[in-house]
Amino acid sequence: MDTEKKKKKKAAAAAQEAAGASTKLPQHLQDQKTRVFCASDAPTYQNVSYSGAYMASRIDDSLNMADFVKNLKVEIKSLTEEEMVFDIIGIDPAIANAFRRILIAEVPTMAIEKVFVVDNTSVVQDEVLAHRLGLVPLKVDPRNFEYRTEADNATEKNTIVFRLKKRCWEEGPKGAETRVNEKVYSSDLEWLPLGSELPPDEETKFTAFNAPQTAPGGQPIAPTHPDIVLAKLRKRHEVELEAHAVKGVGKEHAKWSPVATAAYRLLPEVILKEDIRGDEADELVRKCPVHVFDIEDLGPDGKRATVARPRDCTLCRECIREEGWEEKVALRRVKDHFIFSIESTGALRPEELFTEAIKILTDKCEKVLADLF
């Protein structure tokens, strides 16, 4: 009985091993599956999404969570308050692109949506000024606020009110006057934690704050950059207005987009198909405008070209443009290696933006799941 069990186990192990041995695709298919080929004329991207595509080689290409967890790698390359670059390895473009799209269009921020102009004698028209105000990035965490619909009153939970009042005049002796308050800056936006100070007219009550707004950290709410010029003034020109910021997402208007850029590129791979030595090595090093190649000194054997900085390659294809070089150098991209870069406009840190984006995609799934039941 015992021996029989053992036998069975052995047989199963052998079968597994045999299966393991055959779970490798032929090299050309493996390359086609994992790489983009960049020939001198055009790149070829073969996308096979069907899970049973490699059944002939007895390879199950279905999504296996355990394998996904094992293979996924995230490496942070640089991270500052405003910008980050990181690698995600082992993910499909469909997912990476979902994150990118959400970063641009669906992670909320606060932006000025309504401008009540009391006085504007500057050369910038009201609507142009209002548009410029809308695009000013605000340094405030949108997670502390609610969306405001048309039916809602403007309260401390959904609206941030700013006042802007500036007048230009001239000073000094006649003939040598200097202008004061020549420019209206984003720093002139003054936060009103108690809500609108405009007198309510018959139809419009501008805000209905129940309590004063608070800003975490004790700093008043203000634009991210104090030095954005909104308008220029001349003698006796004056701007007086109130700007109301609300929460929104980038797909409604780009002013709510939390990123300046959110983009990815695939990791370039530069391969020397044969040894490149001597003058040819020098030539290759000279060809590349971003210095991907280096020379390796082999002492008495002369010198040889090496691929030193493949990550810097822009796939400009200059190195394979001339006759004969395509046989020596292969340019590829790694299909599941994404170099992601996110540049925030300042409301949230880039790493927070990315986690928010992932959360939004999860929420979408959960919302549809709830609808299905």
Binding site: S49, V69, I76, A94
Partner: protein, 116 residues
Amino acid sequence: MAAAGAGLTEVGSEADNTAITFSLKDEDHTLGNALRYILNKDPRVAFCGYSVPHPSEQRVNVRVQTTGESARTVFKSALSDLAVLCNHVKAAFEKAVEEHKAEQGVEPIEVDEESD
């Protein structure tokens, strides 16, 4: 045709539950393409594709045809798989950020409040 929830309509035949088009309101390529990928990687799926019928209509249609399983079940498992996948990416990303911050030593400096 059956209306399941507010944001979702299912189009399929009463007699055959292996082929259904799920029409998701207020969604676009973001979710459509991600689901298409997950579904195509499911061995129970014979065909899956998605389309946005009109660019100015906030809607995406996801077509699922299976080899026998109920299309609804498969669609549900794709949605939960995608959520699990996201959660894992999030965990991996947060871990990488933490490690990077520790390495760089830019951990926010703890303000000693007791020394006041």
